[in-house]
C-alpha cells in the first residue's frame, strides 16, 4: 500500500490557554484534492500554518510518505515540497512576470561575483509554465503582474509552485476574491495540478467551488473535524448545513419565516 504524501495524526494546537485545534487527523494523497471547509474562525488558517511550517503543533505528529517529520520553519516545509498559495497569489503587482516568478531563486548567468539575472531565461520559463496551465493570453514575460486578472495571478502562483517542485499544494481561499468566471478558471487549474499528480489542499468556505474539484472533504467547526467524507457522500445542502453548524441555519430560517408570517398578518 502506498503511503499518503502528507498525514496529520491527532494534531492539537493551543495558544496559551486557548485551544484552537483539537485532535485533527487528515490524509492527503497524490493526485487528490482535499477540500477543507469551514466558517470564519473555525481554525482553517491555523491548520494551514501548521501544514506550511509557520506554527508547530502543541501535540500530535505529521508524516510525509509514512515517515514522521517536523517543520521548524516555513522553509522546512517548502524544502519538502509543500507550497502555500495565499489568497492574493503572493505575487508582486509592480514586478514583471518573469521577475516575480523567480523571486528568491533567480536564474543567473556569468561568473563569480558578477552574476547576472538571466532575464530572457526567466521570462521564457515563466511564460512556458503559465501556458502549460492553459493561459495562452500571456506571452510577454516583461508585463507587470498587476496587469493580470485575479485568476491569472492565482494561476501564476500555482504554476510557480509546480515549477519549483511542489508535491503538496495548499491553496488558501484562492477563489474568495474572484468573480464567477475567474473562479472557474482557477478551479480548472486546480484540476490540472491534480492531474499532474500533486496533492492539493483546497481551503474555502464556498461549497460550490469545493464540490467542483474536491475528491475528499473535511469540515472544520470550532477547531475540530465535524465531518470527513468522500465525493458524492453528501449533498450541497448537507455540507452548507454542517459548516454553519446546522442548527444555527435552521433557526435563522425559522426566524425569517416567522417574520414573513408576521408581516403578512399585519
Amino acid at each position: 500500500m502506498t503511503h499518503p504524501i502528507l498525514a496529520l495524526n491527532h494534531i492539537n494546537k493551543s495558544f496559551g490557554p486557548i485551544d484552537v485545534l483539537h485532535d485533527i487527523s487528515l490524509t492527503v494523497r497524490a493526485g487528490e484534492v482535499l477540500c477543507l471547509l469551514g466558517d470564519n474562525g473555525a481554525g482553517k488558517s491555523t491548520l494551514i500554518k501548521i501544514l506550511s511550517g509557520v506554527h508547530i503543533p502543541t501535540s500530535g505528529t505529521i508524516e510525509m510518505d509514512g515517515a514522521p517529520v517536523s517543520f521548524q520553519s516555513p522553509r522546512d516545509a517548502s524544502g519538502r515540497g509543500i507550497a502555500t498559495v495565499h489568497q492574493f497569489g503572493g505575487t508582486f503587482p509592480l514586478m514583471s512576470i518573469g521577475r516575480s516568478f523567480f523571486v528568491g531563486a533567480e536564474p543567473t548567468k556569468g561568473w563569480g561575483p558578477f552574476k547576472i539575472f538571466d532575464r530572457k531565461k526567466a521570462n521564457e520559463i515563466a511564460i512556458k509554465s503559465i501556458r502549460d496551465f492553459g493561459i495562452t493570453r500571456i506571452d510577454d514575460g516583461e508585463r507587470l503582474v498587476g496587469g493580470l486578472s485575479g485568476g491569472e495571478r492565482q494561476s501564476l502562483a500555482i504554476a510557480r509552485a509546480v515549477y519549483f517542485g511542489a508535491r503538496v499544494l495548499i491553496l488558501d481561499e484562492p477563489t474568495a476574491a474572484l468573480g464567477i468566471k475567474q473562479a472557474a478558471h482557477v478551479l480548472r487549474i486546480v484540476n490540472q495540478a491534480k492531474k499532474k499528480g500533486l496533492a492539493v489542499v483546497f481551503i474555502t468556505h464556498q461549497v460550490t467551488h469545493a464540490m467542483a474539484v474536491g475528491d475528499h472533504f473535511a469540515v472544520l467547526i470550532r477547531g475540530s473535524i465535524a465531518a470527513d467524507f468522500k465525493k458524492g457522500d453528501k449533498t450541497r445542502e448537507e455540507i452548507t448545513d454542517l459548516m454553519a453548524g446546522g442548527s444555527a441555519m435552521a433557526e435563522l430560517e425559522a426566524e425569517i419565516e416567522s417574520d414573513a408570517h408576521h408581516a403578512h398578518v399585519a
Binding site: P74, R75, S78, T84, H86, G90, T91, F92, P93, L94, M95, R99, S100, F102, V103, G104, A105, E106, T108, K115, I116, F117, R137, D139, D140, E142, R143, L144, G146, G147, L148, S149
Partner: protein
C-alpha cells in the same frame, strides 16, 4: 518606445527637457556653457551619490533620514583622525566610512528588530549621530569645525576640480550610477529588493532573507553617505557639524521626482539619476536666471508633488495598458 512611455521615468525625462529648455532661455549663455554645466553637475554629484542608496531603500519600502548626519559625522571623523591625531589620510577615510557602516548597521537592526516605522527610527539615529558628533568634536578639538589639508594624491582622486570647474565627484556619481544599475537591475540581488518592497511577507515566503537584505541596504546607505562626507572634507578642507542636513530632503526629492514609488516596489536607477539631474538643473537654473532664489523651493516642492501624484497614475496606466493590449 511605447514600452518606455509607460514608465514614470518618461515623465521625469520630459520634465527635465522642459526645465532645461526654460532655463537655457532664461539663464542664457552662462547656463548652457561649461560653467553652467559644471555648477549643476557638481550639485547633482553630491546629492546624486546619496540618492542612489536612498532610492534603493525606498524601493524596498524604507526611508533613511540619518544620511543627513552621517555625512558630517564622516567628515569630522576623517578630519579628527588625520588632522588631530595625525594618522595617515587613508586611515582617516577608513574611519569615516566605518562610521557610516556602523550607523547603517544600527538603523538596519532597529528597523528589523522592532515594528517602529523606519522614518521614526532614522530620525532618532540622525539626532543621536548629530549630537554625538558635535559632543565628541567639541570634547576633542574644542570647536565645532575641524580643518584638514589633504595630500595632492588624495585630493586628485576625491576633491579635485577639473579645469577649476568640474569636480571629480561627478565621475564618482557616474560610477555610482553604473554600480547601482548593476545591483538593482542586473544582479539577482536586486530582484529581492523589488520583491521586498512589493510585498515583504510574500518575499519572505519565497525564501528571501528580508532582515538581512534590510540591514545590507541600510549599511549601503550609511557607507555611501559617509563617502560623500569623505569627498566633502577632502574637497573643502574643513568639516562642520551642521553641514549635511540638506541631504535628507534633497535626496528624497531626487528619488521621488525620479519616479520611485514612495510606498516601495517600483523604481529604477536611471529614474533616480534623472530625478537628481532635474533637481540640480532647477536649483542652479534659477540662480543663473537671476530669479528670486526662493523660487527654487517653490519649483522643487511643486515638482515633488506632481511626481508623487503622477507616479501612481503612470503605474496604473502601465498595468491597465498591458492587460488591455491583447484581449
Amino acid at each position: 518606445m511605447a514600452q518606455f512611455l509607460r514608465h514614470p521615468e518618461a515623465g521625469t525625462l520630459f520634465g527635465l527637457l522642459v526645465a532645461y529648455a526654460a532655463f537655457a532661455v532664461l539663464g542664457g549663455q552662462n547656463f548652457v556653457g561649461a560653467q553652467g554645466w559644471s555648477s549643476w553637475l557638481n550639485v547633482a554629484a553630491e546629492v546624486g551619490i546619496i540618492a542612489l542608496p536612498v532610492g534603493l531603500l525606498m524601493i524596498a519600502g524604507f526611508l533613511d533620514i540619518s544620511v543627513g548626519s552621517v555625512v558630517p559625522a564622516s567628515s569630522l571623523t576623517v578630519a579628527l583622525i588625520s588632522n588631530h591625531y595625525q594618522l595617515p589620510i587613508p586611515v582617516g577615510i577608513a574611519g569615516g566610512l566605518a562610521v557610516g557602516l556602523l550607523i547603517g548597521f544600527i538603523n538596519g537592526m532597529l528597523v528589523t528588530r522592532t515594528t517602529v516605522p523606519s522614518l521614526i527610527i532614522t530620525i532618532g539615529t540622525m539626532f543621536g549621530t548629530m549630537g554625538l558628533a558635535l559632543g565628541l568634536t567639541v570634547l576633542i578639538k574644542g570647536s565645532t569645525g575641524v580643518f584638514l589639508v589633504a595630500d595632492p594624491l588624495t585630493k586628485s582622486i576625491l576633491g579635485e576640480a577639473l579645469g577649476g570647474m568640474f569636480r571629480v565627484g561627478i565621475f564618482w556619481w557616474i560610477g555610482g550610477i553604473a554600480l547601482f544599475y548593476y545591483l538593482l537591475h542586473v544582479s539577482p540581488w536586486g530582484n529581492g529588493v523589488f520583491a521586498m518592497g512589493g510585498d515583504a511577507e510574500s518575499a519572505r515566503n519565497a525564501g528571501i532573507s528580508t532582515k538581512r537584505l534590510t540591514v545590507q541596504l541600510y549599511m549601503l546607505s550609511g557607507v555611501v553617505s559617509a563617502f560623500v562626507g569623505v569627498i566633502q572634507i577632502i574637497a573643502n578642507s574643513n568639516a562642520q557639524v551642521a553641514a549635511g542636513s540638506s541631504f535628507i530632503f534633497n535626496s528624497i526629492m531626487c528619488v521621488a521626482i525620479g519616479g520611485v514609488s514612495l510606498t516601495g516596489g517600483a523604481g529604477s536607477v536611471i529614474g533616480i539619476a534623472l530625478g537628481t539631474t532635474i533637481f540640480s538643473v532647477v536649483t542652479q537654473g534659477v540662480f543663473y536666471s537671476g530669479l528670486d532664489t526662493n523660487l527654487v523651493s517653490i519649483v522643487i516642492g511643486g515638482m515633488f508633488l506632481i511626481a508623487v501624484l503622477t507616479n501612481d497614475s503612470f503605474r496604473n496606466f502601465a498595468q491597465s495598458f498591458s492587460s488591455m493590449a491583447k484581449k
